[in-house]
Symmetry: C2
């Protein structure tokens, strides 16, 4: 039986040299198989304090719609993350809505009466205790608390720096790969998130910042020096708008239910806002809860594949050099936003 398809998710048959010695004995494993074969120790439980459960109004068929967001772990964007937990615990987000869906760009939610050209009522007062963040916080100094493990440096080498807490070890590079990035000198992953990095003018230290990949969640803001409070949030629903890196705070990513935000009808107003005539298209947000505040039995549990693990490095290399039957020419490189960090829901 023929199967007419694009093979992105089809079974892979890759040659993945795992060490220099094993390089002569290729192992045929698909990226998904590499992930499935990861030892339990390579999976990192996401703390319930870092999970946001957002319940939208049911869809037109009456089906429930739930979105789960993983908040950015330290040391990135922690002031905004603090605010977001505060908004959630004040139940401030309950009753807001999705007000903007701009094709190939973002879906944005917040108070429909706040700074919306189509507003018809008064804005909701903000809760007390919000932190006001500075623009310097868009950048984070990478130090021993960060383990930028999978370096995509030197533009031609897959990964050469390994090791946690700043101790860089080298290991044989399995295959040449191209991680050219138009938006940062070096891309890497740290603690489960894609990170752009550069050296400060008088390096070291090295600085890093989260990157605007598909599904990442950011904080809407006004013109500089405003940095946003967390009252307005958006997620990327198109090609990565990486020019927003270092210009807006990223606070996490959607790890489940992304389709509930990406498949919404586009707004026909400026910037994709729903016009007053389209107010009925605004999707109501019934509630947003920090998972740790839910009853124990109701708390969703998720794990991500450690981006500091050998499994992740092997997985990334397999994405770069696809060898499954569908592919004629392996790319030989990859965009950081195409190396998605595996996340899985696990039993409570």
């Amino acid at each position: 039986m023929r199967t007419m398809l694009l093979a992105a998710s089809a079974a892979f048959a890759l040659s993945v040299p795992l060490t220099a010695q094993e390089a002569t004995k290729p192992v045929a494993l698909a990226p998904s198989e590499i992930v499935a074969a990861a030892p339990k120790a390579d999976w990192v439980a996401i703390p319930a304090e870092d999970l946001l459960v957002m319940t939208l109004a049911p869809d037109a068929d009456g089906k429930p719609r739930q979105v789960v967001i993983q908040l950015m772990p330290a040391p990135f964007s922690q002031g905004w993350v603090h605010n977001i937990r505060l908004f959630a615990r004040a139940k401030w987000y309950d009753g807001i809505s999705v007000n903007r869906v701009q094709d190939n760009y973002v879906t944005q939610w917040g108070d429909p009466n706040y700074d919306n050209p189509e507003a018809t009522g008064k804005p909701k007062p903000l809760p007390e205790g919000l932190k006001v963040m500075g623009e310097a916080e868009y950048l984070t100094e990478l130090n021993a608390s960060v383990s930028p493990f999978l370096w995509f440096r030197d533009h031609r080498i897959a990964y050469e720096g390994f090791g946690k807490s700043g101790s860089v070890q080298l290991r044989p590079v399995p295959r040449r790969a191209n991680f050219f990035d138009p938006y940062s000198p070096i891309v890497t992953f740290s603690n489960g998130f894609p990170i752009g990095t550069a050296f400060a003018p008088n390096s070291p230290p090295e600085i890093g910042w989260p990157t605007h990949c598909y599904g990442m969640v950011g904080v809407g803001r006004n013109y500089s020096p405003d940095t946003g409070s967390g009252a307005e949030l958006y997620t990327v629903i198109g090609h990565a708008p990486r020019h927003l890196d270092r210009n807006i705070a990223l606070v996490g990513r959607v790890i489940e239910g992304m389709q509930h935000l990406s498949s919404l009808p586009r707004g026909s107003g400026a910037l994709g806002f729903y016009t007053a005539e389209e107010a009925g298209k605004r999707t109501p947000i019934l509630s947003v809860r920090v998972a740790s505040d839910l009853a124990a039995g109701e708390q969703p549990k998720f794990e991500y594949l450690s981006t500091e693990s050998d499994t992740f490095a092997t997985y990334a290399e397999a994405i770069v050099n696809r060898r499954d039957p569908f592919f004629i020419v392996p790319a030989g490189g990859a965009d950081i936003c195409n190396i998605r960090v595996p996340v899985r829901r696990v039993a409570p």
Copy 2:
């Protein structure tokens, strides 16, 4: 009045040195203003023979849904483009449907009974006269008929090669820019489309291929050596899956009505196919017509901004170095898929 927004489409205020002499006298123009100020001569009419008008069934509110696709101009993918016109003229596409919507990947349409694991009927016979294309046709030798004008070469320089039909002229580079690309040695634009290029093993000649950016339209195929006929088509609805470059034929791009394909409900079957239970979600395609076959008064007219024009180079540079008030840090580089070729509908 404050306007809480992400500024992608907001007004720009850029410093765009237009020539070496003018570089000392920056001009504050937004990319959209640069485009709006383009002389009429910089706009290229898209031949009616290259426009495909696809009419979907009306949406749930009864509103009409029309998608316009610009077919790839010579010398790229012309065998498949021939087939697509043939399918359209045989009215073969009439009555097919959108059968697959995979989040952050593709929307795919074709015969729901052809190679679909959820098929319930017999496949539709194909029309006669279809060309069978070879895999070598994924690559195109660039020669005098192609004017790869806006070179993003040397990884640090915005553009240094200018000129049509192979005559390369140099002009001062206004500002350093980073066009690193993980998927090809050099990216450029040719005749209105984004192109990856490389030198053949014993270069010259140079070879090129279209790139899988958002909205690009490609030909579904089976395993190699199959190259697809054009019966199954897809468009990119997420982050550019550039690893498909050189592996699948690209035949054009959606230039109007993209939201009708990108906002469809995602399929819950394998690869995003709608399951048998979801067959009701398949969007019917009522008709697909080559615009030149429509009555003169019904033919839509479109133009694209010549990618060989100085205006386009200035526009691209403005995207690379955003200077409008929203931005704190201009990116200093850009992904080829974030430099979208301006297209406009014009009066018949």
